[in-house]
Symmetry: C2
Subunit: 429 residues, 2 copies
Amino acid sequence: MNKKINIAVVGLGQIGIYLLNELSKKKRDIELKTGKKINIVAISAKNINKKRKFKINKKIFYKNPINIIKKCKVDILFEAIGLSDGISKKIVEISLKNKIHVITPNKALIAKHGDYLSSLAEKNKVNLEFEASVAGGIPILRTIKEGLATNKINKVYGILNGTCNYILSEMEKSRETFLNVLRKAQKLGYAEPSNPKLDLNGYDAFAKIRILSSLSFNKKISKSKCLMEGIENIEFKDVDIANQLNYRIKLLGITELINNKLFERVHPCMVKKDSYIGNVSGVMNAIIVNGHPVGESILQGEGAGPGATSSALMSDLLSILRGNIKYPFGIPSKKRKITKIYNVSNYFNSLYLRFEVRDKPGVLSQITKSLAQKNISVERLIQIPDHKSKTASIVIITHKSNENDAQNCLKSFKSNKNVLKRPTLIRLL
Amino acid sequence: MNKKINIAVVGLGQIGIYLLNELSKKKRDIELKTGKKINIVAISAKNINKKRKFKINKKIFYKNPINIIKKCKVDILFEAIGLSDGISKKIVEISLKNKIHVITPNKALIAKHGDYLSSLAEKNKVNLEFEASVAGGIPILRTIKEGLATNKINKVYGILNGTCNYILSEMEKSRETFLNVLRKAQKLGYAEPSNPKLDLNGYDAFAKIRILSSLSFNKKISKSKCLMEGIENIEFKDVDIANQLNYRIKLLGITELINNKLFERVHPCMVKKDSYIGNVSGVMNAIIVNGHPVGESILQGEGAGPGATSSALMSDLLSILRGNIKYPFGIPSKKRKITKIYNVSNYFNSLYLRFEVRDKPGVLSQITKSLAQKNISVERLIQIPDHKSKTASIVIITHKSNENDAQNCLKSFKSNKNVLKRPTLIRLL
């Protein structure tokens, strides 16, 4: 690699523009640490005139990023557009084919096309770096690929979506409904103002779990969706009852190998209030890695926002500048195998169930009888009456039960007129 | 670097022997990840016949490690003897001069001779890696050097000594004295059986803080000792009172730049029970890094033991095998400056003070008067009488006070016959 390095930044939204500013502010620091002089030779975005936090150099602006590759000599390109396909995929693909290193925070792209793009990078002997795609400010990918390189990892889990964690924490704190808190999150910039769905339904966390799995277990990125549930159906009532039972509700992403089969899942979890993960609140992200021989490692930090994301993008840049050419997923693409997928219906777990029922004799016995028939045994049961409406909430914590049996059992209450709505199911950690 | 890499391991204690076993177990994994074939060509220890957990190959055994350099072609040498000088320093020095990469978990050596040895490594264009020297299982040095590479770090602190953290946690849990718990720790292998002093007096944590400072702030390793206190004088009474006040006592290492002056310290701290750091218990280590733009990053994991240490040593090995030649302290030695040292007497902090006094009229007023004269103002005061012995404990939490004034004030009670022993001072975080 020459001493002078040409850099292009494609996508000048919140992250792209912050990065651009960091790059010019830290030129000297980068030269000190790597001996390389960086030079920003091209930038690209849809709209040249959009109002931005920092000024851009319009002389190096390209409306179509593909033209950058045609007209400039670029060594390293940052993709910060953020689509899973379309122009994001195209510019990364063309760059790698032209032996340009690529750095991206784009989890949707990597979770969907990471296998293909990494083999393309390997073929062209350039780096494809995506530290910022999972838990922005936490250098978790580098930690798995390098810091814990020779450990045998069997489980990785944590809080991977700051938006959901903020909403759940805030519901408990302010005792408000999901929708009210969501609106607050949108005002504060913690949730997308127009379409927050991908955060709330677990999709965002699932993309990150896929990337974590393939790095931790040296496997291809999985395509199947074992279990994905978001927080849209979490009611304040559940947050409140959890609180009384000494639990908190957290949206967790979990990936583990069970008998060499991959079990990836994202869903709300009841976690103990005095556990580590129960105390990670607000927009924070946290990841726990179980490996041998290292034991349990915990990493916590800001998961999103331009500052944390830029920190990760810059660490990727420095890694490339130091000449640390690596397999994007830690081992050669050809050696990464397809994993068998764990059958969710084999999954046993303790469950929190909440039934809203008419408060009249015999209802409780109907419920407990149905549960018993499916071998779901009750560890703890609380009935909370609402005298005004002559209804009651029946909350049950079960012993370890089969996921499938539990789901079938809950469905069976559909025809029971005393059960007023679909029962709520939240898994315990 | 050739495809075949010759490795020597010097020092076959708990760590060296575990490492040796890991190296042979993970040969294939290492080749997969780096393309390099490792070969253990030499091992060395004082005693060839000592009883060890894993068998050694006596054919490659050297009593004197210096002979390894003379007789073998070695690419990478592990130093796992652990002295700050003597043969540890000698073998590292000779190896670097002979263009052999060195990996070591030896914090005493690095904290004392790191500046010299790193410039030697740079001169000879080889790596000197010491990830395992700080918080074994936590890849904190790599995180600061690489993962958070371009962040401006202003403070790093945490629990850096697992022995002390175990003792303090266990004192609270089992309600036993320091000495009883120390004995338990020695039995469990958490504390040195013969001489646990270097753990207990803060020396071990201080060496780690020095390494963290120089990496975080890009400075030479400091030689001065701002503030070092261990846990030897922590009584169960303090642990118990802390508990009642909703605090816990933790031995913390803290390094920060205050007006560009370096303030390094290791001392017991009163931390809030519901804080993150207040909930790190047992032999765990935890480190908190404040940086810009990344915000606050937290890393937690096993701090010691052969498994965690080997994990770090192996990550250093893979870094070298990937050809990641780096400045040992992140930037060239010549650019690392000597820092000015912060004057501890300028330090303001809230303090926990405990006075053991005769329970008679006027004593409390003598104490509060003396404190007032030194401008130490009381935030909270609790008097706990012991009717049997006609004594009392007076516990005071102060507002932010000057460290020097507080120390002088405490000394002034020496001549006061109503104050039965030297008052206890523990800083609040």
